[in-house]
Amino acid sequence: MTVEVAKHRELGLTDSEFELIVEKLGREPNDVELAMFSLLWSEHCAYKHSRKLLRRLPTEGERVVMGPGENAGAVDIGNGHAIAFKVESHNHPSAVEPFQGAATGVGGILRDVFAIGARPIAILDSLRFGELDSVRSRHLLDGAVRGIGHYGNSIGVPNVGGEIYFEAPYEHNCLVNAMCLGIAKQADMVRAAAAGVGNVVVLMGASTGRDGIGGASVLASAELGEGDDAKRPTVQIGDPFEESKVLECCLELLEKGLLVSLQDLGAAGLTSSAGEMASAGGVGIDLDVARVPLREADMEPFEIMVSESQERMLAVVEPDKVAAVLAVCEKWQTGSAEIGVVTDSGQIRILRDGDLVGEMPVEALVDGCPLYDLEPAEPQGWMYGNRATLASDASSEETLLALLASPSIASKRWAFEQYDSVVGSRTVRRPEAADAAVLEIPEASNAIAVSIDGNGRRVACDPYNGTIEAVLECAQNLACVGAEPLGLTNCLNFGNPEKPAPAWQLDQAVSGLAEACEQLGVPVVGGNVSLYNEGPEGPIYPTPVVGMVGELPDPAKACGSAFLREGEAIALLGPFEPNLAGAELTKLRGELDAGLPRPDIAAVATACATIRDAVREGKLSSAHDISDGGLACALAESAIGYGIGCRVDLQPLRERGCSPEEALFGEGPGGFLLSGDRETLAALGATLIGETGGTTIELAAGDRSFTVGVGTAESAWLSLGTQLDSHA
């Protein structure tokens, strides 16, 4: 008796969920059925703690071609084309085995994009690790960066941007979020819904092995803890060469109009892709596991159904087109097998050599999981630690150099030089050249810009306002290159939703995300939720990662973030009210506390529009969003680009009520740092604060005034690689 109870619990189901399954089946599930239910009813697949919250998000807009629910979202880019995009997490696999975890994270998000018929054209990644002085963090960082590079470089999709933050709460539970963008002819796009009774279900790509068994339930939907090494077999192994062949094969099949529908095999493998295709199409599917090409001959039916072996796709094909489909697979030297058929039974039936080994109603399996309400409770004050690494009486110069060298602010060149950023011949603004990546879209005679952002520390200070800031930062980055937002994807990385504080953070963050998207008029076209991100010392910083895609008519006009010429004016624009709440400096001083000011979303939107128009009209020499480390760091970054110094007086900010320290290092949304012609900047309503030139950064801020060489600042900013080496 107790043995049976333990079985479903081992697979992550609660007693009441198990009872509900028995009720829906009218009997106890067998091992195959239990394994399949446990996966599709996991948090990872069923979104059972987040689905209700996600209903708050605005998902509609004029340019939306595909919204949430498909493999990826897509927006209209003109001339009959669409840009597909999505961000997804691969956190727990990466925490257990960073190279393969991150590599297969990239592989998975690529499949999501080409599953709807889009050719992948760019990857971005958003990574979080513990502090750099931890051996574990350096190991995870190195493995994840190598893994992302390995997969993306090998498959020929450029990695055009991203972010990396280092914060102690990610020590045991790193975050690896990967975003992919693709381009599709709208006429060739395909949905995931199975249709047509009698149509054939074809499994394409790699053979099925024992890797990734139980990844979605055991690994992705539970907290990390001691003994996670034993979970290593639940991590999948990636093969980018196989994926490259599958990608080309699928795009050729879609271009030839040979597929009814297509779905990738990700978390929960065949179980989830067959279940979701059947559910979306309102049909049944019969699958014969004996026809699935295997890596190991003795695999049990339940193993075949839950395996998360990578580089596999499931297609529905009309019977008279099967031969043509198999021929294209043969051409690309990738596997293919007819493993099932679409039925009108409303059941998922699993057969082995014709013998029935499992039978479940699609509705119960895919949509029957109970959805839970959260029980949020606001924590009292700052629930994370503080560690001082910078003396509070450090001089302004010391402070600036410490901030520039802080791993979260320092240049990520060490990482992004390990990624191919130019393959595909679309990359007009490479990493670090501008605030957002810019890609040419000759298919529609225009260009897109993309940015990915999410400062978990600020969200930890204030989940509602911090999440609004993440959306605003993306919008500001897009404005700096002259792009207008078209849509947004997000990955919500949070702790255990069954605990009151992470539940409160999640609830607040989703509300903030909804509010910002609503006010900016940017629809959410897709996303992913990753919960249970906790280590032995508690939850991660709540980390909503926002990826925003925008359109610009002329990529040649996209502004860079660096000062271009000597002797030009420097100015500030936007509702920037810098303060030290949640700032990087406050972290370095070990003085973090709860609370952030409420951003004025409408005012930031107005500033974004002003900047966007000015960039498009070629009025600015540079545009840079003021972000981590405040205005002083933004100025240093703009100076370092081409080695052009600046002389700046922060008096105008002091007149807004800022202390010298707040003016220099304070953070907050809404600020743009511009350079260009003095009169042009003044006519935009920008506040003039100085001019470019020389080889030093001279900052006048009352008693905190100082001068530092551009070269000195650059050395600090480029120190990430040497910091890694010095710890090694």
Partner: protein, 225 residues
Amino acid sequence: MRWGVLQFPGSCDERDALAACERGGGEARLVWHEERDLAGIDAVVVPGGFSYGDYLRAGAIARFSPAMEAVGEFAASGGPVLGICNGFQVLCEAGLLPGALLLNESMRFTCRQLDLIEGPSGRLPPLGGGQSTTRQLSIPAKHGEGRYYAPDEVLDALEANGQIAYRYAPGQNPNGSARDIAGVRNEAGNVVGLMPHPEHAVDPLTGSTDGLRVFEAVAAAGVAA
């Protein structure tokens, strides 16, 4: 000028190379790795990427493909061949170019815009009518296995014969290549391989147009042969 750009399973830069050939004023088509017929093709590009996954060793499997057999005959008859990155590795594996490409000194994949110096024996006249026969080209490099290696006596011979087609500008060698060598040509001069990617330097919008010069040089080499 009609270019043929080979396409292996796992090629990444073949479409970019195709576009670059066209941008240079030529016609271009993809040549599937199972094709043996290069009839009507004036020059061949073996493009970058990870042919057959580069499992075993970069370029080691691709050299046995039917298309590469045809390229071997094409090169032997004086046809111009350009190998870029993985294509350079394939040409070395096939014995059409001397030397080998080893894992970068850093043991990491590196992607960087850098300057190349055109070898003194380039058959093109100097641009701009100057006296110098060398020119600096801004071109991106991106690879994990690009450290050019050959024994010292081979390197001496390559230098003596004017077979060093491209060197990294001083201080910009990204991979530890011997004598800063970024690209070499065969003795006849019609087969050229280099690690950096000229096909990604053909559009001012994406950074530089200096790569066109590499395509021109290879085309000219073929005409001379």
